[in-house]
């Protein structure tokens, strides 16, 4: 399934090459295509150059990029204008296709991209059970703590969040099953295809796909009465206000943010105020020194270390 979803967005020639490589798709992390440059894979944490039949590195052509953009957008770039503005499109299965090219600017803001020259296909991996070790620390007296996952890119924060959602929704030894509302702005958590999540998010999860986080959280509170709300990559003022509003409404919050450390988080405008006001009860810091998804530290609302992964 994973293999088909990945191969179907690749240009025909690249598809043929990868089919000949006998890859384990669970180990595949990234596929990078750049015009006139060799085709690169990040496979099992290492870079790998793909060779063509004549034994030289396969050089990506402009035609390959055009073909891939057509496949990724389902021949319908207009339907992904919002995503293109952010520089990536999420495809079926929650895999992220990042693009660079020439930005089209309107009123000082990026409206779209043209002359796309590089594509990075980043795999989304569902790791069932990766949140098992976390629950002992984020549940106190049968009550789920407001939790923020802090991590640099490619360290597995979305994967961890996804498994936390699944376990909170289904219930586990630490917590009873709760109604979870997920605002999946970029279809990465659920990997929705035509509105149906392709990843396991539990039996009590309602998912609002492709919806801006701030607006989505309000919609969920009004319409689905969630006990827990989960969102990925908060950062804007609207997101922060919506998170605070949801907390005031009695919802437990699970969220993620890009940062290297607690100190880095405190340096971020808006988020530093959330830390200062002790909005979150737990902070989970991820790193990738050993492997993606490794918990480097778990902190309480004051930023004191509760658990160290080292």
């Amino acid at each position: 399934m994973q293999k088909e979803r990945i191969l179907r967005v690749l240009p025909r020639r690249v598809r043929v090459l990868l089919e000949g490589e006998r890859l384990q798709y669970a180990r595949l992390q990234e596929i990078r295509l750049r015009i006139d440059k060799p085709l690169l894979l990040i496979y099992g944490g290492k870079e790998r150059i793909i060779r063509n039949q004549r034994d030289g590195p396969y050089i990506v052509t402009r035609e390959d990029i055009r073909e891939m953009v057509e496949y990724v957008s389902n021949y319908s770039l207009y339907a992904y204008e919002q995503e293109m503005r952010q520089g990536f499109i999420t495809i079926e299965g929650g895999h992220r296709v990042g693009m660079t090219g020439q930005a089209i600017i309107e009123d000082g803001k990026v409206r779209n991209l043209r002359y796309i020259s590089s594509i990075n296909l980043r795999m989304s991996h569902e790791v069932i059970g990766c949140a098992d070790q976390i629950f002992a620390h984020i549940v106190t007296g049968q009550r789920l703590c407001h939790t923020l996952i802090i991590s640099p890119p490619r360290c597995g924060k979305t994967t961890l969040l996804r498994d936390m959602i699944r376990q909170v929704s289904d219930g586990n030894q630490w917590i009873r099953g709760m109604a979870v509302g997920v605002v999946d702005e970029r279809s990465e958590i659920g990997g929705c295809y035509m509105g149906t999540p392709q990843n396991q998010l539990g039996i009590r999860t309602d998912i609002l796909d492709c919806c801006p986080k701030a607006e989505g959280m309000m919609m969920l509170i009004r319409s689905m009465a969630p006990e827990v709300i989960a969102v990925d990559e908060i950062g804007t003022a609207e997101d922060v206000h919506a998170v605070e509003y949801a907390m005031h409404c009695g919802c437990r919050m699970l969220a993620t943010v890009h940062a290297d450390s607690m100190e880095d988080l405190r340096r971020k405008p808006l988020l530093d105020q959330m830390v200062a006001r002790k909005r979150f009860d737990r902070y989970i810091l991820l790193g990738s020194q050993g492997h993606a998804g490794q918990v480097e530290g778990l902190f309480d609302s004051r930023g004191s270390l509760l658990y160290s992964g080292e």
């Binding site: 025909r12 057509e70 021949y75 770039l77 207009y78 204008e81 043209r114």
Partner: protein, 173 residues
Amino acid sequence: MTAKLIGVCMVVGAASAGGGLAAQKVRLGYERLRCLQRIICQLRSEIQYARACLPEAFQRIGTVSESPYKEWLLSMAERMEERRGLTFAQIWEERTWEYLKDAGIPSESVKRLAGFGGQFGTADVSLQVRALDLYQEEVGRTMEELRGEMQMKIRLCHCLGVMSGIFVAVLLL
């Protein structure tokens, strides 16, 4: 004599039926264009309002459309899913000629429709909506022209059918 009379009736009848068929074809062309106009309206809504991807839109519209548009739209959706390296314009043109060439639509309209695919799938929604509006206007104009000529053409087809039948009968007698 009776045999001759029966023969004459059969010849005239067959020729009239031929005329009737030709008249039916004229009516069919008009009906097909009306159906195409409806499909373009639906497609416009799918693109502008629902921001649906083209294969999804074709699938949805195709399932509720009549033949040959049903097969045309569904085959396009299927072809796009195959990912054979063709551009959208190529898929559109290829499928249009295959499914609509002999579907009773005026050949000029099919030709214009086949060339229309190049304007789809771009990043600019408003361009696509405008292109659909323009094509809609063109179809509307063609329909108006057809409507103006249709009654006369239908009458002519019927008359020619009967007259040619009589003519052949006279020749045979």
